[in-house]
């Protein structure tokens, strides 16, 4: 089970990241919980100032830009490998 968090106050770029993540998750037919983190103190707790940020299983994988679906796929694959070696 993966927990994926999209950090961002709700700007257009954050929504695009969320869409990309949801698309990748459904394409990989994974069980994953996608959570939007919109409150600033919660975002800042990850040390991220430039939104949108992306957190997979509590690890910040990207911030301040919109990652490509291919990148998201790789990060998810890596996270799965770390979780179930």
């Amino acid at each position: 089970m993966l927990t994926i968090k999209v950090l961002g106050s709700g700007c257009a770029n954050c929504k695009r990241v969320e869409q990309i993540v949801r698309k990748v998750v459904s394409e990989m037919s994974l069980e994953a919980e996608v959570i939007k983190v919109t409150e600033y103190p919660d975002i800042m707790a990850y040390g991220v100032m430039s939104t949108p940020g992306l957190v997979i299983n509590e690890k910040v994988v990207s911030y301040g830009r919109i990652p490509s679906p291919a990148e998201v796929t790789t990060w998810i694959t890596n996270a799965l490998e770390t979780a179930n070696p």
Binding site: M49, V60, Y63
Partner: protein, 348 residues
Amino acid sequence: MTTLTSPSVSHDGKKTFVILALAIIFWLIAYNLIQPLANWISFDVFRLAPDSHLGESVAFFLYDVPKILLLLSGMVFLISIVRTFFSPERTRALLGGKREGVGNVFAAMLGIVTPFCSCSAVPLFIGFVEAGIPLGVTFSFLIAAPTINEVAVILLFGMFGWKIAGLYVTSGLVVAIVAGFIIGRLKMEKYVADFVWKVHRKVNVTEEKLTWSDRIERAWFSVKEIVGKVWLYVVIGIAVGAGIHGYVPEDALASILGAQAWWSVPLAVLIGIPLYSNAAGIVPIVGTLIEKGASVGTALAFMMSVIGLSLPEAVILKRVLKTPLLVTFFAVIAVAIIFTGYLFNLVL
């Protein structure tokens, strides 16, 4: 420290460099072809007389639009490459140990090169304050980053040359340093929203390790993003400029916005505050103002006021700043812009 490695899924390094080389060659050829092409279309295809007002305007438009768009793409690309070496997170680390004064100067300069989007203003503010960066230094950054905007500077350069562009950057820096320093001296920490002081980082983000082909791809991505957003404003702005060119008398604005009228600078700043426009829309207007007799200091003050002081930004910052600080923030910047306006009117 561990590093985030960007997965190289789609990119083959060599391919990126070949495409880049081809793009540079194409850019150079296109840039050298626009003048003859613009003349050929206006005077041979449309058969306009080269010395007529219409012929001149059409040739000017056909030359200026592709020229500015090419310059914009090329320079946004270069600036974006530079910006891949900076991030707000890294800037915060760089500013961490700086005192006021030196810190203000550093913050303003980092504001130019750090990638910034107005939607990040609040997290940036909180993040800087949380890291213990003095309030005034934080404000120097927050003033410089949006005001000295890459699109504004490139358009000024493309339309009026490096002198005006350089003046704009200099005045933006001066305003950011001075205004930030003054706000720092006013000791207004108690007017920062209380929750800001309670924010704590649990972890630090790790820095990304980028290869050159990563940097090139990201820069290309921002070219598409930025040019895609502003090209229409540029075209409309140049069209309006080309149109006004011959119909409004040269000195129409000299009496109202010329250097002799002492009230022209504060008036320009006041008018600029409620106006909210992106840089791409404002530069052609500023060009027209200067052409029709407004003095350079007044025109640049107007431009800084429109870009740097905006009501939407005030609404965003309201979440972290209590009213007295928000009002002070705006007032100090406005006064600083007015002074730089006067300064340029005096020396130029």
